[in-house]
């Protein structure tokens, strides 16, 4: 499912753009949203379910600030011989605490992943296990010192320079 590009209608884009700006904690939040977009509540909920099924919507609901509930995160990089990437990725991805993992273009550090866990001890334990299981010793552990911005809104309605509109949220690591 992921990887294939979905075909979004103009209504979908309006709907997702409105949703990205956020909805209110009211008894019928989707009715309010539907009025904004010019759809019925029933049609909007049905379309949201489809967009979720199609994989366009990764998650809907409360975007939690993980640090505020005691979680801590880090960004790590490993130097993996290209032919070993699938096998090493399997080890890394086996931890539910690993939330993102990408191959990136760099001559040395080519596998970049984020860990989100309840403690530094748990993060260090995961890293130690990954090193032991894969035998890869060249790695970076780069915990965040300060967050200037987390925002994963995408500009769905055109003009690049106004990306997303509201200055804000995201599923932060």
């Amino acid at each position: 499912m992921p990887g294939k590009k979905a075909v979004l209608t103009d209504t979908d884009r309006r709907l997702l753009a409105a949703l990205q700006k956020g909805f209110s904690p009211v008894p019928e939040p989707f009715r309010e949203l539907a009025a904004q977009v010019g759809m019925t509540e029933e049609a909007l909920i049905a379309r949201l379910r489809e967009l979720k099924e199609m994989g366009v919507i990764r998650r809907l609901g409360a975007i939690i600030d993980s640090r505020k509930i005691g979680y801590t995160g880090t960004l790590c990089a490993l130097a993996v011989p290209p032919e070993r990437i699938p096998e090493v990725a399997e080890v890394i991805n086996s931890y539910p605490e690993v939330t993102h993992n990408y191959v990136r273009e760099h001559e040395t550090y080519n596998v970049w992943f984020t860990i989100l866990a309840p403690s530094h001890e748990r993060i260090n334990q995961i890293l130690q296990e990954i090193k032991e299981k894969t035998g890869i010793t060249q790695f970076l552990n780069l915990p965040a010192r300060r967050i200037f911005k987390i925002r994963v809104n995408f500009d769905l309605e055109g003009s690049h320079d106004r990306a997303g509109t509201a200055p804000d949220p995201g599923a932060g690591e």
Partner: protein, 161 residues
């Protein structure tokens, strides 16, 4: 945080119902009234525990396939100023300060998502000249190996994807 609050946060974050009265539905699951759930959500929004009620999209599906992580090497005394300046650009979705290491001297990290690489480069050139920092690397992603929702309050490994 009580066990009920933890369950509430899980339901709100990872299991939000697509129904007409979502907070009533969540209340049923965790043993709270609709009003009590809404009051808690407002409290969490105020405290910043919930950043907002919103949506996370899979960027490939909405056409933002080029994903550039730009790592900047900034003199320590300029980190605050440059970090704030980079974060002020709407094209920058994430901006973090991270401690440099001897083998990796970069201390500011920004993410840029665009439909095409050339557009990323255009933005990166604009950022570089705006902050006057020429020492940076651009790491484009070539493959997504994993992208999952954070798992809170679960027994390790119990709850996967």
């Amino acid at each position: 945080m009580t066990e009920q609050e933890q369950r509430l946060i899980l339901e709100l974050g990872n299991n939000f119902p697509l129904t007409s009265r979502p907070f009533r539905e969540i209340g049923k699951r965790v043993g709270m009234s609709e009003e009590a759930v809404i009051a808690k959500v407002k409290e969490y929004l105020e405290k910043g525990i919930i950043r907002r009620l919103s949506v996370a999209l899979r960027q490939q599906h909405v056409g933002f396939t080029a994903n550039a992580m730009v790592v900047w090497r900034v003199p320590p005394e300029r980190v605050e100023e440059v970090g704030k300046k980079l974060a002020s650009f709407p094209e920058v979705t994430h901006c973090y300060e991270r401690l440099p290491t001897p083998e990796w001297p970069y201390n500011l990290y920004t993410m840029i998502h665009r439909p095409r690489r050339e557009e990323c480069w255009e933005i990166i050139r604009k950022l570089s000249s705006a902050v006057g920092v020429k020492d940076f690397l651009v790491l484009f992603s070539t493959q997504e190996l994993k992208r999952s929702n954070p798992q809170y309050f679960t027994e390790r490994g119990e709850e996967g994807e």
